[in-house]
Amino acid sequence: MKKFGMKTLCICMAVSAVLLGGCGKAEETLGTNVEQSEAEETVNARPVKEIYEDIKQAVELHSPVEMADSFISNYYGIDPEKLEEYIFVMSEEATSAETIVIMKVKDEGDVEKISEALQVVVDEKRGEMENYLPEQFEIVDKSSVKSKGSYVYLVISESGDTIVQMIEEEL
């Protein structure tokens, strides 16, 4: 009887060991899947220009002008080489403070520097519109520079909440 009991116990332990060993493989699979899903998420992260195209479809913008490398470099001291991709849009109308900026830095360590540069944009617009166009000043005052991972973004717009939400859903 004792032999039977010990044998049985040993068999059960062996079976358990086999089954739990399979769990280890499942864990490895889990780890691999996590890495794969993260990679897939990155591959699936939409280019900022596509996000901007969606914004244009959803919201009526005021004569937007897409600014080029020389503009962000000369006026705001932003080095385009530090960006993986970006969109920097201002209204062509001098009486509109509307601005949409989405930047993805190559090195996440540059997020703070880019955020500071975009804060200059906010401060500039705020100074221009104060005592000049109160309605635009209020729009600027509600805006703020935000960041998420390697993305830094700024939206100054009467439809700011909608646009920010659209951006955040994509990042």
Partner: protein
């Protein structure tokens, strides 16, 4: 058997734990595949093709025609733009008295049918073709010299100039890409002389607010165009504003002795929208004093105001974007023509 029931229980329990545990982990792994991760910089990022913003070459054949012909004048532009509808925008009530600036816009009507730049370009082209046909090869040669005239130039001004900057930014594949800008809404000859502080509105350059003479020095500009006054007249009147203007130019020349100075006339406001000292007759008087000051000091003077005026000497309605004083792309097309004509007349300098 009864004595060993506990052994059987342990064995069965171990097996069940092992089975349940293995299925549970597998289920967790399957669920992880669909979870959204927060971080986005992983190895897969290298697989993403970098996307750079290309230059916004909002350029049509028609616009090239205007921008490439130094002799294009107001008449030419108007005839090309004959079919346009007016673009108007609502704005805030103007603050006639007091305040730092005079640039507040008034309530205006917004009209439908804003003509796109493409349509504007095409319309302009039809009006311009005859002239290029008549001028032939001489105009093309001259066009390059005129383009080069704007190398290392900087345009300093208020929101009216800011509109020109934005117009230029949309056309960076033309000679306009040679221009630098130091423009800000509510900027004036008065506040241009302030120190940089929390209330100053100096145009930003290289990521900082700087007094314009510093920015001009950093840019290495050799030609400095200035258009100010809109935010000065209600504060320091005609003579006082001229004095501030001269003082500002003095600062620019002190820091940049080799820079050529060209004053651009202040532009008019829409008829019926004049406010405080922003009356078109006063603006005319101010422009006259600026022209005299420029002549006295050997500076250049560009009269863009008259090119944008209607028969009554007010800002032509077709060039106004906000029912007050700010201008639309058609107006800036005229700026281009006037500036190129000025350049053509001063090519030897």
């Amino acid at each position: 058997m009864k004595k060993n029931w506990w052994r059987y229980g342990i064995a069965v329990g171990l097996v069940m734990v092992a089975i349940i545990g293995s299925f549970g982990i597998k289920a967790l792994a399957a669920g992880k595949k669909t979870m959204r991760t927060g971080a986005d910089i992983v190895t897969g990022a290298s697989e993403i093709e970098s996307i750079k913003i290309v230059k916004n070459t909002y350029q049509t054949e028609g616009e090239k025609g205007i921008l490439g012909t130094p002799e294009a004048d107001k008449t030419e532009v108007e005839s090309g733009n004959g079919e346009k509808t007016e673009e108007g925008e609502s704005g805030n009530e103007a603050d006639a008295e007091g305040g730092k600036t005079g640039e507040t816009a008034e309530e205006g009507t917004s009209e439908d049918g804003v003509v796109s730049d493409e349509e504007a370009g095409e319309a302009s082209e039809s009006g311009e073709k005859t002239e290029s046909g008549e001028e032939g090869e001489g105009a093309e040669e001259n066009a390059e010299e005129i383009d080069a005239y704007f190398d290392d130039s900087v345009f300093i001004g208020d929101s009216i100039m800011l509109g020109f900057r934005n117009y230029a930014m949309k056309r960076q594949d033309t000679f306009l890409s040679r221009m630098n800008f130091l423009a800000a809404g509510s900027f004036s000859a008065n506040n241009a002389l302030w120190d940089v502080n929390d209330e100053s509105v100096h145009p930003v350059y290289q990521g900082e607010q700087r007094q314009v003479w510093e920015s001009v020095s950093l840019m290495g500009s050799k030609r400095v165009f200035l258009m100010l006054g809109m935010n000065d007249l209600n504060i320091t009147g005609v003579e006082g504003s001229c004095e501030k203007y001269e003082e500002l130019i003095g600062k620019i020349k002190e820091k940049n002795p080799d820079a050529e100075i060209i004053i651009m006339s202040m532009t008019y406001v829409l008829k019926g929208k004049e406010t405080g000292k922003l009356q078109n007759d006063i603006i005319r008087e101010f422009n006259g004093m600026l022209e005299t000051m420029a002549e006295k000091n050997g500076w250049g003077y560009v009269n863009v105001a008259e090119a944008l005026a209607d028969g009554n000497g007010d800002l032509a309605e077709e060039y106004c974007s906000d029912g007050f004083a700010h201008q639309n792309p058609e107006a800036y097309d005229v700026w281009v023509s006037v500036l190129r004509k000025y350049a053509d007349e001063h090519l030897d300098k």
